[in-house]
Amino acid sequence: MKRQVNYSKEHLRYLARHKRHSALILCSQLGILVLFIALWELFAYLGIINTMILSSPSRILTTIGDLYQSGDLFYHIGITLYETVLGFAIATILGCLIAILLWWSETLRKILDPYIVVLNSLPKIALGPVIIIWFGAGMQSIIVICVLITVIITIISMLNAFRECDKDKILLMRSMGANKFQILTKLILPASLPQFVSVLKISVGMSWVGSIMGEYLVSSAGLGYLIVYGSQVFKLDLVMASTILLCLLASVMYFLVALLEKYVNKKRGRL
């Protein structure tokens, strides 16, 4: 039930000011987008820009419509989405498990530390050709590239979160007789949940990078494939349409993670 509160005039003025400010931000954000699309379309219509190179919003919409009618739209989206989500899930689970293992054994962490540093600094895409040879010229390689790009950042971020956990809280649990597994499950993991959600936000972006880069290297379907194909046959409408679809999908996935973050905070009574 909504709380009935009698606010002072000053507070009501503050609320109105806050509401106006939020509306201004939202309108400006939407305004920039609408203005950009309108100018793009106008310049294309007036012939100021070359639509062969820069396409136009109406041509992009037509391309998306054509893809939909031919049944290709959801096929390509489905392929890329499948690779990204699977890569994201594997990288997240694997990354967390490795981070737990490295937290558990200080010796193992010290042994593997230089390898993780090297893997982190290495541009993972350089391993693309090797991965294609090992895993074949197909979806498997794309998912492996996606995992490789995402997993390292998950390991490093989660391990940092685990190690930054309040040492006194660990001492408190030890003074109560807790074993290492109890410290992990009752303290380290729940305490690291906010960082986990933050890592998910980064991983979502990294997974899209991974799957699209993978599709650039080796694919016969997917949005990355459409972008490469479009640029090869000089169909910039297809390139732009695929890029915009990619933007939308990545935003939706990010939005879902942001919703999860909100839920986690709410569950913890922070909101």
Partner: protein, 252 residues
């Protein structure tokens, strides 16, 4: 009569690649049942280290600790530890926080559940059991931390500057609160503090440690615990004289 806790010739050395540091030289002390003792000393003299040894978190380099006449290693669960900060788990409700120790020890004894309910009721947390720690005041948070320790029915309560992180007003209330709870639950307690007033007003005995490597420099007894109010204790001559004596001892 045998003492409840006995520390015999305790020493602790820290090792680094460059050096070996003697943190505690040679400490022997005892604590009797239901006694409240405070340990004071200069900063870095090893007060908290000594408490960690008694809690079984650190192992001494030499010496023995007997609890009820048996080695401490056999009785670790008889010791409760309260830290400077309450260290409540923010993602757990008050009830889940106070149950933490019972979960760790897999204690499902209905008698403990009853004792927990009794503590919650008795110390004014009944209406807050489903709240999260950030909903509580500093004083209430500290009370939750104390109940979390008490519910494990420790024979000895170790208090590591438990009031240090509180503001002046809250501190005054919480000290009275904690002191009353400890007296009512008849707990043997060891307090580590840098606040001489706090040590004298709360304790039966005050142990003064020397600077590192620490040894027991002096022990002072008081009879102030007979007085219920901490503020009243502080108005007595005994309190003032003892604080002065300890201060002089620390200056030497």
């Amino acid at each position: 009569m045998a003492h409840l806790l006995e520390l015999k010739d305790i020493a602790l050395n820290y090792h680094t690649l460059k050096d070996e540091t003697k943190a505690i030289e040679n400490i022997s002390l005892f604590v009797d049942s239901k006694e409240f003792i405070s340990i004071v000393g200069p900063s870095g003299c090893g007060k908290t280290t000594l408490l960690s040894i008694i809690a079984g978190i650190l192992s001494p380099s030499t010496g023995t600790i007997l609890l009820d006449g048996s080695p401490l290693s056999e009785n670790k669960n008889k010791i409760g530890y309260m830290f400077q900060r309450d260290h409540l788990f923010e993602w757990r409700t008050v009830l889940e926080n106070v149950k933490l120790g019972l979960e760790i020890t897999h204690n499902k004894d209905p008698a403990n559940k009853e004792y927990l309910d009794e503590l919650i009721e008795k110390y004014g947390l009944k209406d807050f059991v489903n709240k999260y720690p950030h909903h509580l005041s500093g004083g209430m948070r500290q009370r939750v931390a104390l109940i979390r320790t008490l519910v494990l029915r420790p024979e000895i309560l170790l208090l590591d500057e438990p009031f240090g992180a509180l503001d002046y007003q809250t501190r005054k209330t919480v000290i009275q609160d904690v002191s009353s709870i400890i007296a009512r639950e008849e707990k043997t307690s060891i307090l580590v503090t840098h606040d001489l007033g706090e040590a004298v007003s709360l304790s039966d005995r005050i142990i003064v440690l020397s600077k590192r490597p620490s040894i027991v420099k002096a022990t002072f007894k008081t009879n102030l615990r007979k007085i219920a109010s901490i503020e009243e204790r502080k108005r007595t001559d005994e309190y003032k004289i003892t604080v002065d004596k300890i201060w002089e001892e620390l200056q030497d």
